[in-house]
Amino acid sequence: MPLRTAPIPRMAGHLSFMRSVRANFEDLSSGSLAVIGAPMEDSSNLKSGARFSPLAIRETSVYFGWYANPQFSNPINIDELELFDTSSINEQLFDLGDIPILGQTKSKADELITRSIEEVYKRNATSIILGGDSSIIAPVSRGIAEGKSAAYIQIGGKTPGTSNIELSQQTSAPLASLLASGKVKLKDTCILAPAENPSVEFIKELTDTSAKIFSSNQLNNMDSNEISDLSLTLSNRNLPVIVNLDLSSVSSELHGMSDKPVFNGMSLKLLRRVLVAIARAPIATLILTGHNPTVNGLSIVKTGQRLIVTALVGYLCSRLGLINDFKSNDN
């Protein structure tokens, strides 16, 4: 059905994330937040389309480009009623564009991803990676503190059946490849709201170490201090913290746009609470995965990208110190 276009679409102009400034690697400095698109997906997936997610997320995010919208210059959260100034966003949040992986071989694409993340990391900036599916996690992680290990927080997504390196190669769970490569040690992992029930063997292996795993129900009953302690504990080990946020962490009835349907996942409110709590510790990279904007019939509905962006905006504003969201988080 043809749709007319409005005179000047709200999505006109450069679709940078939240209307942030387009920048290059050399523009980044310590404390910067660098948004990077990684439009890649594993060709063995049952469904295709996650590679279109960076574009979809950016398009939706311009609704929140407050500082670029003179009609909406004093945003407040309706529940907190706390006015905050967004004018400094342009000094801290940058959009570097997409990694040029289109048409590349898998190994070349992986290399480009790794090199891009390295460039951000060595400037002491935090990268916000717009995936893509979970196949981007390994190359992104290699770009964080090359040659050193890292801590890993996984929100949603698959869990490996076992941490046994040989056996875990048989699963596509991203943690398996991180463990196999030695980039992440099991004791330095934290899994929140996994999208699949972990195997008994894996749970036992987790609990034998200091690793943590919490379901969405358990998270719902935790206060923000307990949740932030999870990331602070990992960060205090002097390890860079890699966070993977997979859309499958959120209940599917709220969006329907994850390839992995989950009906006991988190609400948007809980996800936002978790992200804000985690933001109390420095994070090396936040990798968004699991959003497929082309799921049959849902490509025009856009609930998934709106949900991700809404949660992410809360995180970013808190991370940038624009709002003191932490105290009100438990209300």
Binding site: A6, I8, R10, M11, Q71, P75, I76, I78, E253, I300
Partner: protein
Amino acid sequence: MSNYPKMNTVASSLFGAPLGSPKQLKPGVLGVVGMPSDWTHSSRIGTRFGPDALRVATTEISKSISNDQTELFDPTVKSVLRKRQDDWIIDCGDADIFPDSVEDTTESIASMTQAVTAAGAIPLALGGDHYNGYPSCLGYSRGLLDRDPNRKFGYIQVDGHLDFTNRLGAWGKYNHATNGRRITEVSNIIQANMVWIGISGWIDGGEYELIESMGGKVFSSQDVHRLGSAKVMELAIEHATRGCESLYVSLCIDAMDAGYLPGTGSIVHSGITPRQYCQMLDILSEAPFDGLDIVETCPPLDPSGRTQQIAGHLLLRTLRKYMFQTGK
């Protein structure tokens, strides 16, 4: 009673209502006015297909609850519902829409709802994007004054957004983000009796302050979760009807969480659930509203078609008092 079946109208109409004109309306009857206009939405359009989608959806609902039965039991209110045999609703068709002139479109819609209201009937306007709630309310306001020059009214807007911006970019003063603000400017509204329910996420702080300063009230979706949907609607009705006999209600379906209801132009998350929306409308259905609109049904944005089904059901809950006679 005649023994031949009651024929459907030649075109779809709301709840299978007979087609007519505002001149045929009698006091207390609902007069349906379609507003198939969406070019005053700033991004995702398609609500111009909303009025017809609502007519189809409500006709289906009407068929499923009537057939030859005249008595039904409603477990929600634990009451027997007897379908009214008289014409409680007349579908007056769509207002003329002028895509090149917001002023002409505004006057076209307003003239219809004015005629409905002036006749003592209750305008029920079908959007369209939410801007059209303004011309609908404008005509209602004029119609009230036609009946009684001193008649004032309160206002309840169930919505995910305040729609209280004064101007919006290229769209100026007349678009789906300004309808609430424009309604404050009609002569016989009591600004302090304006209430918003279901607001989600970030809003403009200046607009919120302005609403508070004029005595209006805002209930967020979180308030609905926290206080309960029935309680919030009771408080809203109490606030909106202080010192006046008339109440206009604007039902924007986008107050509902997008996971349940994706087919609308400006979706929200952490919004209210269908159950909460229905519970609010069960309370509202007993309120003395005498003008209403339902807006932002956008069929092209929901391939599953459930959005118009939900919106039709919301109307059913709102209009129960008119559609049925109740009794034990």
